[in-house]
């Protein structure tokens, strides 16, 4: 095995492939950082460039783009409060408040280092436990997927700061928006109003860009005229990655838990880093000694999100390489890239093309290091971006969002969609409705509905099939416990608030 790995490194570290990978990681970071441009788009647009390259060089370039783009999302999530990719949604929850507190460099440093560690952890999982993990994931059927989706949906309430009703409503509305298009199983067309463009439903990219980027631009528009001109943010000098060794060591348990979540979710087809970062964030909040600090700017939130999303890289590669099953859009394009270069992923790949498999492992490791070095080197440049006034920067970002939306299917319709979701996102801000549950509902909704209906078909209309299946039953039980626990916590919190209010009134009289 180690001989093969050394061979892989020898191939990847040849000058041509190494330079390609440097360029790939750099382009990937830019695609990840710019809202509207994603890893999927970076790989799709660069795929034709790999046709003339050999298999090792072509695949290494695609992997470099994947790693760079997954990590790059943290930059805009922290600096602009706009997640560059769905995998960085939870990074905005604490990264942006840290930025507002003047700790932007620290948030970026934490994000970069734990992105790197998440990637390395997932590569280790890919190299050592890939085949057995893939077998477990493959045994999951609609019952299990439905139960996992329901359990994840019940966690929405944890993200509902302020009013639980508003948070759950946002999740339900996200689920409702995901029902637009052709229904699963019976292919009935729903809520399309005769628009052919809506048959496939809304793309996650247009929803995300609208709800975060366009809504942020409208929000800035509301106050920009009344702000003082030429006020540049204070740029603090950064030492190293901007955080201490004690802070780093204190985050190790959080990082391990988040990496495990990222790898586990990454393995499951259909749920990618877009979900794992939010689930890891919720888990970190629940396990934290200071959960009240979440959402106000704590490094725990950034660590959880960034470790989990990058851990999804190796996780998503496990079913891709061992079974030939792409887990999400990025790995689907990667599968295409592998096949173009004459590689047929599947159980036989490790036997028939072992040197190439280890070249892929080596490319992943080298890309992770390149990502760390390039982002560390560019950390100071990212911070300098803040010197550009928002009234100049945000319109340019909106144009890039429009390019990203157009690039999905070369349709102006998708750009109209981001505007519509931008208005909805702005409405959420004004109404005090949290956006994150909406995104979770939108992502998990189709999985829940499709698995529910397929599961019912499998058990011939018998609902108890969801309870008698051990994995499904366990997750549904956990979902019930989660709902009961959150309701109890909410009632206790409101009682405490009421008691505090009474005490205050007593003091005044």
């Amino acid at each position: 095995m180690f001989d093969l790995l050394i061979q892989g490194f020898a191939a990847v570290l040849s000058l041509q492939i190494f330079m390609l990978m440097v360029a790939g990681v750099a382009v990937g970071i830019v695609f990840g950082a710019v809202p509207g441009l994603t890893a999927v788009m970076a790989i799709a647009l660069c795929l034709p460039m790999t046709y003339g390259l050999g298999p090792a060089a072509g695949i290494s370039l695609l992997i470099a783009l994947f790693v760079g783009a997954t990590s790059g999302g943290l930059i805009s999530a922290i600096l602009l409060k706009i997640p560059g990719t769905p995998s960085s949604i939870a990074t905005t929850f604490d990264g942006a408040p840290m930025m507002e507190k003047g700790e932007g460099a620290k948030a970026l440093g934490v994000g970069i280092v734990f992105s790197f560690l998440g990637t390395i952890a997932s590569i280790a999982a890919l190299a050592f436990i890939a085949p057995s993990l893939a077998k477990v994931a493959l045994s999951f059927g609609p019952h299990e997927y439905f139960a996992i989706a329901v359990f994840s949906l019940t966690l929405i309430a944890t993200l509902s700061s302020g009013s639980m009703a508003k948070g759950i409503f946002a999740g339900v509305l996200g689920f409702a928006v995901s029902t637009v298009g052709i229904a699963p199983v019976d292919a009935t067309t729903r809520f399309t109003f005769g628009q052919v463009e809506l048959n496939a439903g809304f793309s996650i990219l247009t929803v995300l860009v609208g709800m975060f980027a366009v809504a942020e631009i409208i929000k800035v528009a509301e106050t920009s005229r009344s702000q003082a001109a030429g006020v540049a943010p204070v740029i603090v000098k950064i030492k190293g990655f901007g955080f201490s060794m004690a802070e780093f060591l204190g985050q190790i348990p959080n990082a391990i838990r988040s990496a495990l979540i990222g790898i586990s979710i990454g393995i499951l087809p259909g749920i990618g880093a877009g979900t794992s970062n939010i689930i890891a964030y919720i888990a970190a909040k629940k396990r934290s000694k200071t959960p009240e600090q979440f959402g106000k700017g704590t490094i725990e939130g950034v660590v959880a999100s960034e470790t989990a999303n990058n851990a999804g890289i190796g996780g998503a590669m496990i079913p891709l390489l061992t079974l030939g099953i792409p887990g999400d859009a990025v790995t689907a394009i990667m599968l295409g890239g592998l096949m173009i270069h004459g590689i047929q992923p599947g159980p036989m790949l490790f036997l028939t093309q072992a040197p190439l498999v280890y070249t892929i492992f080596a490319a992943l490791i080298v890309s992770a290091f390149l990502m760390l070095v390039l982002e560390f080197w560019c950390l100071r440049i990212f911070i300098r971006l803040l010197a550009i006034p928002k009234h100049i920067l945000l319109p340019v970002i909106l144009v890039l969002c429009a390019v990203g939306a157009f690039g999905l299917a070369s349709r102006v319709f998708d750009i109209w969609t981001i505007l519509a979701f931008g208005i909805l996102g702005f409405g959420f801000v004004k109404a005090g409705i949290p956006t994150a549950p909406f995104i979770i509902g939108f992502i998990l909704g189709p999985m829940a509905e499709t698995s529910f209906r397929r599961g019912l078909q499998l058990s011939r209309g018998d609902y108890t099939g969801f309870l008698t299946n051990p994995i499904s039953g366990t997750f549904l039980g956990l979902a019930v416990v989660s709902i009961l626990w959150q309701t109890y916590s909410e009632i206790r919190a409101s009682q405490r608030k009421a008691a505090a209010g009474l005490l205050k009134l007593g003091d005044e009289t």
Binding site: I218, A228, V399, V403, G407
Partner: protein, 156 residues
């Protein structure tokens, strides 16, 4: 009664009712069909809206609630939305470079803080330069065929 929360609760309930009506219009089939999940979601939205509405009606009004609106901010938001909509509408007829340059220039002007004088030549240069750079990068660097509009003959 807290007016803003009442409006939000009312909007939540209305969204649920609208979604329920749309769901009811879907074709009926035996057992679980395409309308089942939307129906459940709609009732959940209505229930959550009612809970929010009931809570808002019980909560005492905030002092100065009515005075919190900012007409200047609303105007800028309206202009920004109009500019974005205009930009999208102009993409096909004018092409990406021209539509983008116009949008950026006007958007810079609209968002410039009142306290400063807008540097018009700088804004014009930035708008044209950014539009050209983005167009060239994606069209020639990544083969993404952004609409070129009247420039198509010249570009080909």
């Amino acid at each position: 009664m807290r007016l803003k929360d009442v409006i939000v609760g009312g909007a939540m309930t209305a969204a649920g009712i609208l979604y329920l009506r749309m769901g009811n219009a879907l074709p009926d089939r035996d057992g679980v069909d395409a309308a089942t999940v939307p129906g459940v979601l709609a009732w959940m939205m209505i229930a959550l809206g009612a809970i929010e509405l009931a809570g808002a009606l019980r909560r005492p009004a905030l002092a100065g609630e009515a005075r919190s609106s900012d007409a200047g901010g609303a105007l800028t938001v309206g202009l920004t939305l109009a500019l974005i909509a205009g930009f999208i509408a102009a993409l096909r007829p004018l092409g990406f470079p021209i539509a983008t340059a116009l949008y950026l220039f006007l958007q810079f002007l609209v968002l410039t803080p009142r306290s400063g004088r807008p540097p018009v030549p700088l804004y014009a240069g930035l708008a044209v330069g950014s539009a050209a750079f983005i167009f060239a990068t994606f069209r020639y660097g990544f083969d993404l065929l952004l609409p070129a509009g009247p420039l198509v003959a010249w570009l080909n």
